[in-house]
């Protein structure tokens, strides 16, 4: 018996010493990487090391790449995100680091897996990203959007829906629907965004409208004209932009159901469509709820499940709400009864804080980019403790270092 115990003890002790050794090696490696890596990383773009991966196609990402960075080519970044879609501070970071790097994280991978395995002939599946503030919902969506672009999905992407409810450029009474409000400038801006994202694909697919749209006595878009013409009409005649958006989206739905194209719908801050408090006022100074805005209807329509050949990626966000409605980040609370019933059934995807591995990888990336210049022993521990491994908090903390 004594012998048995002794054996146990010795095993424990070897285990301990091995751990210590491993930690020491790791720390030395970290030091070396801080000294040596920057010189080579700045010049040659496709570097592969412990926190970078050479795999640039999101379709090929797997568990192996979790916690590693992949680079989006600048041209593709410009095509997808020039109209918004990345957080402002992340844009700034991209500009400073002169490379658009995204970390491969498990929520995005989970979503990609679902999308790859989905049967597109069945009614669309709605995926709802949810999570606390600053946890990477938008960037997970960006990752999936990149996948969508590379795999010939038509992107119907709303970078931040609450912009329409909270700070509209202009509001006007709708001409076609009584008692409704138009947001002509925002609709036109969205059409421009749609065009920049999809112009190449639209040219290739040659999609045609199914019926004639009459805008006014003199203007109309005949049946059989291409979708680009429809979009360009909306951009040129801002007055009809909202109606064009509605027409475009209903056309897209029909075309997708007919199997002519596949569509990826991505709407950030989706719960804004169900939040009754907006900053739009009608003529008699009454607050207009989102269901009285012409722009919300097509996007509610396309998130319905009555069409096929598409995927819907929606995110619900606390900051899409107004003050006093931000208690929880769970979809049921944020969407409300109406919104939840509209989306039901959906696949919830939880986005969480960094894991240990992702956190160290991020720190290494920052060190590589010279973003952290104070490297006292134990600074990682401090940052971990102070940020609680929350991505946004980490970004804020590291600013002044």
């Amino acid at each position: 018996m004594f012998r048995k115990q002794f054996g146990n003890l010795s095993r424990v002790s070897t285990h301990l010493s091995r751990n210590v050794l491993a930690a020491r090696v790791a720390s030395r490696e970290a030091e070396m990487s801080t000294n040596a890596a920057p010189a080579e990383a700045a010049t040659a773009p496709p570097v592969v090391n412990e926190f970078r991966t050479g795999v640039g196609n999101p379709g090929e990402h797997s568990e192996v790449q979790i916690g590693k960075f992949y680079t989006i080519p600048m041209q593709e970044k410009k095509q997808i995100f020039s109209g918004g879609g990345l957080p402002k501070q992340y844009e700034q970071q991209i500009k400073t680091f002169t490379e658009a790097c995204l970390m491969v994280r498990s929520p995005a991978l989970e979503l990609l897996n679902y999308i790859k395995r989905a049967d597109l002939s069945k009614p669309v599946v709605r995926y709802v990203l949810y999570g606390d503030n600053g946890v990477g919902k938008t960037l997970s969506m960006a990752h999936v959007l990149h996948y969508g672009m590379l795999n010939d999905f038509l992107l119907v992407h709303v970078p931040w829906a609450p912009n329409w409810m909270k700070r509209p450029k202009e509001s006007a009474n709708s001409a076609s629907q009584e008692g409704f409000i138009d947001l002509p400038f925002d609709a036109a801006a969205w059409l421009v965004h749609f065009k920049t994202q999809n112009s190449k694909l639209l040219e290739r697919l040659q999609l045609k409208t199914s019926k004639e749209y009459v805008w006014s006595k003199r203007e109309s878009t005949p049946a059989g004209s291409s979708l680009i013409e429809l979009v360009e009409h909306g951009i040129a005649r801002i007055k009809y932009a909202s109606e064009t958006t509605a027409a475009l989206i209903s056309e897209l739905k029909q075309l997708a159901t007919a199997g002519q194209c596949k569509i990826m719908v991505a709407i950030d801050g989706y719960n804004a469509f169900f939040h009754p408090i907006t900053r739009i006022f009608s003529d008699n100074k009454q607050r207009v709820s989102p269901d009285r805005i012409t722009l919300t209807q097509p996007f509610l329509d396309i998130t319905n499940y009555d069409w096929t050949n598409g995927v819907c990626i929606l995110s619900v966000d606390k900051i899409a709400m107004t003050e006093g409605y931000m208690e929880s980040y769970l979809p049921r609370y944020l969407l409300g009864k109406e919104g939840f019933e509209h989306l039901d059934p959906f696949v919830p995807v939880h986005v969480g804080n960094y894991t240990e591995k992702e956190f160290t990888s991020y720190i290494k990336y920052y060190l590589d980019r010279h973003w952290i210049s104070k490297t006292q022993p134990g600074f990682e521990e401090q940052l971990k403790f102070m940020s609680n491994m929350n991505p946004y908090t980490l970004m804020q903390l590291v600013r002044g270092l």
Partner: protein, 193 residues
Amino acid sequence: MSMYPSHFAEPSLKKETNRSSASHIPVKAATNDLSDSIFYGELKNKLIKYITKKGNKSLARELLTETFETIKRTQIERLILAGTEKENIIIDSEQLLKNAIENARPLLQLSAIKRGGVKYQVPVPVTEKKSYFLAMKWLLDAAREKDRKVHLPEKLAWEILDAACGQGRVIKKKNDLHRQCESNRAYAHYRWS
């Protein structure tokens, strides 16, 4: 000034201090802005206190953080553009602030001394503490003299960067002061006679 008798030791920032040899010396209580975190810097704390207006210290801290961020961004940009001479570029913004302040510190100052009914501008050496104060004050004054649309962090960042490489308005101000002291050197003896 201090509430403590002169034999009290300053509080230490290190976690482990070996005080067995000096355990009989009492230590002052630590002030609440001392910490051993990576965000702490003595000079930084001092500057934050000077930036503060109406006791709004959290705002001042935020402004300085933003300043450091701006400095870091411009320096990284320079590093990328530099090509070969990469060793000369300092990215650590706190180090740059230190350099800027060291560069902007004056040695002499003019003070008015009345001798025989006439006031003379007499050059007087500046104590170390005051020279730091003046350097930081000049930096801030230069940063606050700006267009209304420019934010303080942005301007302060530029002033710090300028001063760190020995150019700019703050350094000019210091040099002007030194020149005046030099031209008034004939009055120097009024300091003691």
